[in-house]
Amino acid sequence: MSPHETLFRLESTPTPQHLIVDTNRLSQFELIDFPGDWDEASNNPIFLGLSCFVFVLDAQDEPYDLVLSYLTNLISKATKVNPRIHVHVFINKVDGELFLSEEAKYDCRRDIVSLVQEEMETFQGLDNVNVEYYLTSIYDHSVYESFSKVVQKLVPALNTIESLLNVLVERNGMEKAFLFDVASKLYISTDSNPVDAAGYELCSDMIDVVLDVSGIYGGRHNSDSNREIDDCSKGEGEGGEQDKSVTEEEKNGYYDSESCAAIHLSNGIVLYLKEVESMLALVCLTREESFGRRGLVDYNIGVFKEAIKKMIEVAGPK
């Protein structure tokens, strides 16, 4: 769904919604979306299997006192059940008039961090809880980047993947490499060079481009099902809603074992994407010079792919 659509397509969430995220075989988890006014006391056991807890706070809804004491209350309950739980606080909606400058965002984060710390001191045993804060907005990539970091905490083989990526980057003289979950555009891992937000954004936008273009030209053109969809969208327009979701799904279907893309930029950087495993993509930023030896790059990516495949096989089906 596009950010614009959330303005009028979403209704408020009445009960916890469960969503299994298992599009790729490296990062699989269950996501539970809670309603904002969820009465935590009566549902305490829900924290039992929880490994990670994301709290979304509306930065445009000041003052924050109430919502923050609600948050600290939740943290206290959660840590009692699972002392090793990761807590992530998304300070969302840092966009629009109120947050035109980066300054304003940082100020907002600083205020919230100190308020939460103050609150937490009133509880016992919360000294060791590690709370991480992210500034997010659905109108830019911050929400993807932040969620990536949350998901990375859930990937069991993170260290191994990271060292594989390091080797790849070094062998090919690349600038940066990400391993993406194609469906969500979250990155599961990256090499240990620092992540530059702009580079990440480009890679993530590239995935959109690849899926969109493949959705247009890379479909099974002659299939009857395709024809049907086309016909009914031209017809009375019945079930238009459904068509749309079908094509979204289908678009992911057009990402296949030979999916591959290269985008050349005027500053001499090439973005190179290759399928690694179903719904996983390796996206690298590399200089045009290094990309000139494409055969070698492809060979090394092949080695990386094999390693990831082995890793998944060893881990076995979940």
Partner: protein, 302 residues
């Protein structure tokens, strides 16, 4: 070559938004910050090198219409090549919209009888998908009924999807003089290089200016694909802009197709679609290179 283009319609109908997205690299959501246009804003936009569109973006508040119709009547409506009239699908006062519309057509008929007329039924994203066709048909009927016998073409548009590019591509290609010849050369190129499709885009706006296909019947492609590609590439160009890097070209493939989108002549981009697995990437790239030289020579000054 200068062409005067009038952009008219009720206040808040989305005229400045469309113009800013197509010609000034705005993102759709940036338009939420636009303030109402006061009087007429003039903009010169260069298209395909030496075609200059002289856009008159006419603020739509009632007070301005009085002067458009009275005091400035001739200034505004004289020597117009294109009239683009915008209706807001969510208008709270449709009758009044049609009063203005009739007034504008009358003034055009009087001052620029040869002007081509396009009517955009805009903000269609606010209508439920299932109802868009029906509602658009209905609007189109009412618009035709008010057309005073002038010939005009209607489009359903929204800044939030590819319909915007569809409408503006068709409008603008109407102003390109040797478009037919360009198309013939594109046909030849498509055949020679064994491509499924070749599409030519204007470089700055990424509007489609010509396209050609072979064996299209057996493919059953999406009818809105060219505009979708415009939209996709334009979005990506804007993302590149944020990193101070320009977009040069791309290659996307899966097991069934390869797409090449590349800077072509000075004022165009080309897209070549190949689905025959026998055709090597290198061969397609050489074909594009050769065609580039040929087109530069023949269409250097369009």
């Amino acid at each position: 070559m200068k062409k005067k283009v009038l952009l008219m319609g009720k206040a808040h109908s989305g005229k400045t938004s469309m113009r800013s997205i197509i010609f000034a690299n705005y993102l759709a959501r940036d338009t939420m910050r636009l303030s109402p246009t006061l009087d007429v804003e003039h903009h010169h936009v260069r298209f395909l090198g030496n075609l200059v569109l002289n856009l008159w973006d006419c603020g739509g508040q009632d007070a301005f219409y009085e002067s458009y119709f009275e005091r400035d009547r001739e200034t505004i409506f004289r020597s117009v090549e294109l009239l683009i009239y915008v209706f807001d699908i969510e208008s709270d006062n449709p009758e009044k919209d049609f009063d203005h519309f009739s007034g504008v057509l009358e003034a055009i008929e009087e001052n620029s009888p040869d002007a081509r007329i396009f009517v955009l039924v805009h903000k269609m994203d606010l209508v439920h998908e299932d109802e868009r066709d029906v509602i658009f048909e209905d609007r189109q009927r009412i618009i035709q009924a008010h057309s005073r016998g002038l010939s005009l073409q209607c489009f359903a548009t929204s800044i939030w999807d590819e319909t915007l590019y569809k409408a503006w591509s068709e409008i603008v290609t109407n102003l390109i003089p040797n478009i037919q010849l360009l198309k013939t050369h594109l046909d030849d190129f498509c055949r020679i290089s064994d491509a499924d499709e070749v599409v030519l885009f204007e470089r700055a706006t990424f509007l489609v200016i010509a396209h050609t296909s072979q064996n299209a019947a057996q493919h059953n492609f999406d009818a809105h694909r060219f505009e979708k590609i415009s939209n996709i590439v334009k979005q990506f160009k804007l993302s590149c802009g944020k990193t101070q890097a320009g977009f040069q070209g791309m290659e996307v493939k899966n097991s069934l197709f390869s797409a090449f989108i590349d800077a072509f002549t000075e004022n165009t981009y080309i897209m070549v679609i190949v689905s025959d697995p026998q055709i090597e990437t290198a061969a397609t790239l050489i074909n594009i290179k050769n065609a580039r030289e040929h087109f530069e020579k023949n269409f250097a000054r369009s």
